[in-house]
Amino acid sequence: MRKQRRAGGRALIGLVFLFLYLPIFLLIFFSFNAGDSSAVWQGFSLKWYGELFHNRLVIESVATTLLVSLLATLISTVAGTFAAIGIYSLSRKWRDPILVVNDIPMMNADIVTGVSLCLFFVAFFNGWGGFARWFNGVQSAVELPTRLTLGLGTLLIAHVCFNIPYVILNVAPKLRQMDRNLVDAAQDLGCTWMQAFWKVILPEIKPGIVSGALIAFTMSVDDFVISYFTAGSSTQTLAMTIYGMTKKRVTPVINAVSTLMFLAVLIILVINNIREAHQAKIAAKRASFEPVRQPRWVEQAREWLGTRRGRAFRRAAALAACVAFVVTVVSLTAFTTSQPVVNVCSWGEYIDEDLIDEFEEATGIRVNYQTTDSNETMYSLLENGGADYDVVVPSDYMISQLIEEDMLEELDYSQIPNFSQIDDRFKNLPYDPENKYTVPYTWGTVGIIYNTTMVDEEIDSWSCLYDDKYAGQVLLINNSRDALGIALMYLGYSVNTTDEAEIREAYALIEDAARRGVYQGKVMDEVFQTMEGGNAAIATYYAGDYLVMLENNEDLAFVVPKEGSNWFVDAMCVLKDAPHFDNAMKWINFLASKECNLRNMDYIWYASPNKEALEEYPAWYEEQYEEELDPEIYEIMAAPDEVLDRCEMYVCLPQETRKLYNDLWIQLGID
C-alpha cells in the first residue's frame, strides 16, 4: 500500500517534470536543426552554434543580461542583507509598515512596477533637464548633461528594485531564528561590532543570503516585463531580443545560446548538488566521530590559508577580484558609451544585417538597431519620452503626423548625395511636399496572401476576409489603419475618409465577421509563422513580406484585389533634437546608395525607391544566383503602374478620426 502510493507520487512528479521540460527539450533539439524552422526537422547541424559568435545582437543582449543581473544581484544582496539587519533591530511599530512597503514590488504585477518606474524615470528626466539647463546657465565650471534617457542605468535600478525584497525575504527568517544574545555575547567577549557581524551574524544568516542571491539572480535573468518598460532604446536584454523575434521568427541562434546558458546552469547545479551531498556525508561522519579524510593538498591548502600570510593572501585575492570586476564593468560601459553611435528604430527583418556591420566598419559608428512592428507602436515609443532614437523609418501617413506635431528634424541633404539617385516619383510626395524631412527607404502594396492548397478559388476581392466560407481560417491584420482601410476599400469608400458613418460601417463589417468566427486571430509579424506553417488560409500583409514567406512555403499566392488597395512608402527621417545628427546623415546616405538598395531588396523583398537599383535588380539577381528572376515576383515586389493606379496612399487623418480609429480598434479587442 505504502509503496504503491509512493510509486504513484513519483509518477505524478515525473509527469509534471515532463510537462515542464517538454518545450525545453524541443528547444534544445531544434538548436541542432539544419534548417531555420522550429517545427520541421531538416537534419543535424551545429551551424547555429557557429553563427552565434557572429550574431552581435544576440551576444550583446546576453552580455547586457548577465551584466545587469550580476550587478543587480550583487548590489541587492549586500544592500538587502544590511537592510534586513537594520529592519530587524527596529521596534515592531516601525518594522511592520516597512515590511509592507517592502512587499509592494513583489506583490505588484510586473507590468505595474515597470510602468510606474517608467513614468517615474521620464518625469525625473524632464525635471532634471530643466534643472541642468538652469544650472548650466548660472555657472560655467561644470557642464551637466541636459538630456537623460532610459538605458543601462535605469535598467539596473529597476532590477535592484525588484531584487532587494527577495533578498530581505530570505534573510529575514534566518535573522529571526538567530539568538540575539549571540551578538551581545561576542561583544561582551571583546569583539567590535564589525567583528561580531563577520564572525557571528554572517555565518548564521549565510544560507538565507545565498538563497536570496540565487533567487534574485534567477528573477533578474528571467525578467522581461520590467526590463521592457525601463531599458529604453539603446539597451536590450536577451528577453527583449527574444520578444522582438517571437513576433516574426525566432532564429535558432537563440535556441543555441539558451541551450548553452541552460547547460551552464545545469552543470553548476549538479556540482552544487554533489557538493551538498558530500557535505551532508561529512556532517554525518562528524556526528559519529569518525575522522574525515580530505585529500592531502586540501588540508595543506587549508592550513596555509589559516596562517597570517594565507589570510593576507585571501584578502588580496578578494580585493583583486573586486577591482577586476569593477574595472571590467567600468571599461565596458566606457567603451560602449564613448564610441560614436547612431540609434535606429526600424521594422523587424527590414534590413540585410550585414549592411550594419559594413557601415560600422567603414565609419566606426556603432549602430544601435531596434525594431518595432507598427507605426502606431513606434509613435508610442517616441511619445513616451524615454527613447532616444536618431533615425526612424515610419510610413507615409505617420510621417505627416510626425511633421505636423513638429517631431522631425529637417535633413541636411548636402550630406546625403545619394538622395539624387532616388526616383523622382518618390520625391515631394504629399506626406512631405517639399521633401525636407525624408529619404524614401522602400515602397510597396498591401494585398491578400492565401494558401492555394486551402483555398480552391482564385481570390481577387477583399470579400474573402468577411466570408463565412473561410471561418476560422482568416488572419486579420492587427493594426487599425490597415484593417479599417481595407474594409473601407471593400465598401467602395476612400481609405482616407473622415466621415464617421463610413468608418463605423467599415468597423461593423469587421466586427460582424469577427462575431461569426471568421478570424482565427489578429496578427502583425506573427503572420509569417502562421502562413508559412500552413496554419491559416488567408491573411492580409505587405507584398515584400509575402515574397519572404514564399521562400518558405511555395503554396502561397498574393493578389492586390480588384477593389484597390493601399500603396505605401516607408522613409527614413531624423527626430527633432536627435543627439547624433551627423552620424544619422551618414547612415541615411549609406542606405540610400545603389549597392545597399540592391542588397536590401534581395534580402527583404521590398521594392527600392532607388531608380537604378530597381531597374537593374533583375540583372543583378541573375548575376548573383545564375538564374533568372521570375518576372511575376518582380511585379509583385515592384507593382506596375496599372496596379498602382487602383491603389491609394494613406494620408494623415485629423485628430478626431484617429481617436475614432483607436476607440473602435480597442472595442474590437474587448468583445
Partner: protein
C-alpha cells in the same frame, strides 16, 4: 548598540521611498489627469474621466481575472500534490527535484512559451501526433464532423496553459518549502491520538501548509492576471487581457498613458483587496514564504 544597528535600515527606507512609493504616486497622478495642449505647450489637467470611462473595459477585467483564476486553481491542483509527494521523499531526491523545478527559469520564459506555439499550432507537433495516432479520424467518425486539426492555439485554453506552464514552479516552491519544514512529529502525534489519514491531512497538514498555499496562490495569480506576452503569443490577439490593454496604452497602438495608469491603479487595488481577503483567512501568518 541596538539603535546603531537600526541605522542600516535608513538607506533602504529612503530607496523604497524614491523607487517604490514615488513611482506609484506618479502613476496615481497620471491616472487622475489628462494631457491637454495649451498655447504654451502641453499641460496636465485634473479629471476623473479615466476612471469613469472604464466601464468599456469591464469585459477585459472579468476575462483576465477569470482566466487567471482558472490558471491558479489548476496550478494549485497540480502543485499541492506534487509538493506533498516531494516533501515525503528522501533528502537527495528532494534536492534534485528542487533544482529541476528552478532550472527551467533559466531558459527565458518567452522562448519556452514560443516553443509551446510550435506544439499547439494547427499544423503543430501535437496535431501531427493526433493525426498519426488516428485521434482526429476517430473524433471525426464519432461526431460526424470533418476537421483536420484541433484548434488549440489562439484560444483562451492555450492562454491558461501558458500561465500554468510558466507559473507552476511559483506554486510548488512555497508549498513545498512549508511542507518540508513541517514538524513530522505532529503527524505522528495525531496518528497516535487516533486520527486516520484523511483527518491527519485535513486537521494537521493542510492548516499548517496554508501559508505556503496562500503565497503560492499570490505568486501565480498576480502575474497571470497581468500577463501580456503569454496572451499575445498563445492567445493570438483574439482575447485581450488586462496586460495587453495596459501595454497598448504605453507602448502599443493606442497611446494614452493616463488611461493606462488608471487601469493599472484599478488592477492594483483589486489585487490588493483579493490578497487582503485571502490573508484574512490565513490568520496572522507572518508573511509570504518562498524557500
Amino acid at each position: 548598540m541596538k539603535n546603531k544597528r537600526s541605522l542600516f535600515a535608513v538607506p533602504y527606507v529612503v530607496w523604497m521611498a524614491i523607487f517604490v512609493v514615488i513611482p506609484i504616486v506618479i502613476m496615481l497622478v497620471y491616472s487622475l489627469t489628462v494631457t491637454v495642449s495649451t498655447e504654451t505647450g502641453e499641460a496636465m489637467e485634473f479629471t476623473l474621466e479615466n476612471f469613469t470611462g472604464m466601464g468599456l473595459y469591464v469585459s477585459v477585467f472579468t476575462r483576465s481575472f477569470w482566466l487567471a483564476l482558472i490558471a491558479t486553481a489548476v496550478c494549485l491542483l497540480i502543485g499541492y500534490p506534487v509538493s506533498y509527494m516531494m516533501a515525503r521523499e528522501g533528502e537527495g531526491f528532494q534536492r534534485v527535484a528542487m533544482a529541476l523545478i528552478m532550472l527551467p527559469m533559466w531558459m527565458n520564459f518567452l522562448l519556452r512559451t514560443y516553443s509551446w506555439m510550435s506544439i499547439l499550432e494547427n499544423n503543430g507537433l501535437l496535431n501531427q501526433l493526433f493525426r498519426k495516432l488516428g485521434v482526429i479520424a476517430l473524433y471525426n467518425s464519432m461526431t460526424g464532423r470533418n476537421i483536420e486539426y484541433f484548434q488549440m492555439i489562439r484560444t483562451p485554453g492555450a492562454v491558461v496553459l501558458g500561465m500554468v506552464y510558466n507559473y507552476l514552479p511559483f506554486m510548488i516552491l512555497p508549498i513545498y518549502s512549508v511542507l518540508s519544514k513541517m514538524d513530522k512529529s505532529l503527524v505522528e502525534a495525531a496518528q497516535d491520538l487516533g486520527a486516520d489519514t484523511v483527518n491527519v491531512f485535513r486537521r494537521v497538514t493542510l492548516p499548517l501548509s496554508l501559508p505556503g498555499v496562500l503565497s503560492g496562490v499570490t505568486m501565480v495569480f498576480v502575474p497571470s492576471v497581468s500577463t501580456f506576452a503569454i496572451s499575445r503569443l498563445l492567445g493570438g490577439g483574439t482575447s485581450m487581457m488586462l496586460g495587453d490593454l495596459i501595454e497598448n496604452q504605453f507602448l502599443g497602438g493606442a497611446y494614452n498613458p493616463h488611461l493606462g495608469a488608471a487601469i493599472s491603479m484599478v488592477m492594483m487595488v483589486i489585487v490588493v483587496i483579493c490578497m487582503l481577503v485571502m490573508n484574512h483567512f490565513g490568520e496572522g501568518n507572518e508573511q509570504a514564504v518562498m524557500l
